[in-house]
């Protein structure tokens, strides 16, 4: 009796140990952590989305289903509350401006800094990634004080916010495009130039097509971080008419009496995902139409004409 009672936990302990020390077995412990993490990171968002469809006013319990907080409620829904719909419009406006300015500026900067030799270039290279690691509050305070004290011709509001968004997203474009540039040897441009092209043609016909994936990726990233940004938008906002979605969530988050705020956040998420998906699909279509030998063919045609 005593021996079996003592050996049962011992075998269980050994089995337990074997399971974990077996080098060919699945890393169960890691599977568990990873799945728990994914659930922990996604489920709260799904719950917040679920509450946005509540029929009642609660933001913490499930109360039926309706679109009341999206458009049905005549006063408090996202559609009918100017504070909420205005925030969404402002967020989208800023994201569009940020993409339109940052992507060309950043791509040119990345290419220029990668090919331009000299001390000034390496200095600029060093400075240009600092925004990436500067806490946003520092940039927010710096720009706010600058617009109030020095660059007084720039009013707080949309323009100031857009400038802020461009400034911090520039570094992201730089990193993404530079990563791709490092994998492209300068021989392609040299070949283009040997074939009689100018530096500009080499850039346009050899370099830019190869950079397309990086350019599309940086446009997506700039859009996403502009939509996500809170600190710079909040510091540089003129009044409630230039509040973005995150600023609205911040100011109403603890006080909001209805799930309309959840509806606003859900809509913003849906739009962000839709834009990202659309950009991705568009890029695939362009890529397919162009075919694999795009650069070579185009160069050959130019040479022939």
């Amino acid at each position: 009796m005593t021996t079996t009672a003592a050996s049962a936990p011992a075998t269980r302990a050994r089995r337990f140990r074997d399971r974990f020390s077996n080098p060919w077995g699945k890393p169960r412990f890691l599977v568990f952590i990873t799945l728990t993490y994914l659930a922990w990171s996604i489920v709260p968002i799904l719950i917040a989305i679920r509450f946005s469809f509540n029929e009642g006013r609660s933001r913490s319990t499930a109360q039926g289903w309706s679109f009341q907080w999206y458009w049905e409620n005549p006063d408090l829904s996202v559609l009918h509350d100017p504070d909420l719909s205005g925030a969404l419009v402002q967020s989208l406006k800023l994201a569009a401006l940020a993409v339109a300015i940052t992507v060309p500026l950043g791509v040119a900067l990345a290419i220029g800094l990668a090919r331009w030799r000299g001390r000034a270039a390496s200095g600029a290279r060093g400075v240009s990634i600092i925004p990436l690691v500067t806490p946003e509050i520092v940039l927010g305070v710096a720009l706010l004080l600058s617009f109030v004290q020095v660059l007084t011709f720039i009013d707080l509001g949309t323009i100031a916010q857009a400038i802020g968004h461009v400034t911090f997203s520039l570094a992201f474009v730089l990193i993404i495009v530079r990563g791709r540039l490092l994998s492209i040897s300068p021989e392609y441009e040299e070949a283009a130039q040997d074939l009689g092209g100018s530096t500009f043609q080499a850039l346009r016909l050899a370099l830019l097509p190869m950079l397309t994936p990086a350019i599309v990726a940086s446009a997506i990233v700039v859009f996403a971080i502009s939509m996500d940004d809170f600190v710079v938008s909040a510091y540089l906002s003129a009044d409630s008419t230039t509040d973005t979605v995150p600023v609205r969530i911040y100011s109403a988050g603890r006080a909001a009496p209805t799930p309309a705020l959840n509806a606003l956040a859900t809509l913003t998420l849906a739009i962000t995902l839709a834009v990202v998906a659309a950009a991705f699909v568009l890029w695939r279509i362009v890529q397919r139409r162009r075919g694999k030998g795009g650069i070579v063919e185009e160069l050959a045609q130019r040479g022939a004409s």
Partner: protein
Amino acid sequence: MSEVTRRRQAFWAGLALPGVAWQAVFFLLPFYVIVCVAFGTVDPIFQTPRPAWNPLTWDPQAFEFVFEGLFSSGGSLQRVFIRTFVYVAIAVALSLAIAYPVAYFVARHGGRWKGILLVGLVAPFFISYLMRMLAWINLLQDDGWVNDVLLWAGILDAPRNWLDGRASSVILGLVYGYVPFMILTLYAFLDRIDRSLLEAARDLGASPSRAFRLVTLPLSTPAVLAGCAIIALPMFGDYYTPDLLSGSPNTSLIGNQITQYILGGPQQNVGAALVVVLMMMLSILLAYYVIATARAERRLQR
């Protein structure tokens, strides 16, 4: 330098020029403005800052105020700084404890699930930080689902108010908000570790845990440090997480102090001085990050 090369160099420099100019005007100049406001005074009537543009006229009174609050024991500023460091340290440690196993698993054992797992890891980047905090506000309410679960499990006897100034809620928010950045940093690095090194270790008789300890862990140290820097830096400037998940002065961080002085109070120069002090402290972290990235890039170029 030949004429052609010079012309090409001028072309590339010209291409970079708009971006360089942008960063000079909207990044470097604003830094100088912060310093000048910090070393300036405040107009006694309008309460607006009077920046000192000339370094010769810099007046350190705002810094004296900040350092007095920092170094006199028990000062409110000192408590805020210590609290910030403690919160950030705990949040970074917890993030690392979550991020390393997850990144390691997806990089090494992801197999055919890798694509889907990666979508899960990247998803938080497309969900606004503030929305993710909002989700937790919903869950942590008095009648929220967190209390429901804890009551049901018998851990709590009565619903608890999680949003009235609890360090645990703020730290949870920080970890939840920033851990995805660390996971991706670690993943990108762990994914690139040459498997043949591990196979060699195993062939030479190392047990899996020994191979991990002697090969993977030392190789991933730079990534761990970079990941810690990447999430610690924004945490030091965070003020919205404590505002949303606690709202009490008991959990106020450096970021809250800066915001109070800059957006609310009449002492903008003190706010600016706080920013300068914060930047000084973070510049160690920053410098490490910049050097580490440069080194990694050089290795890639080789």
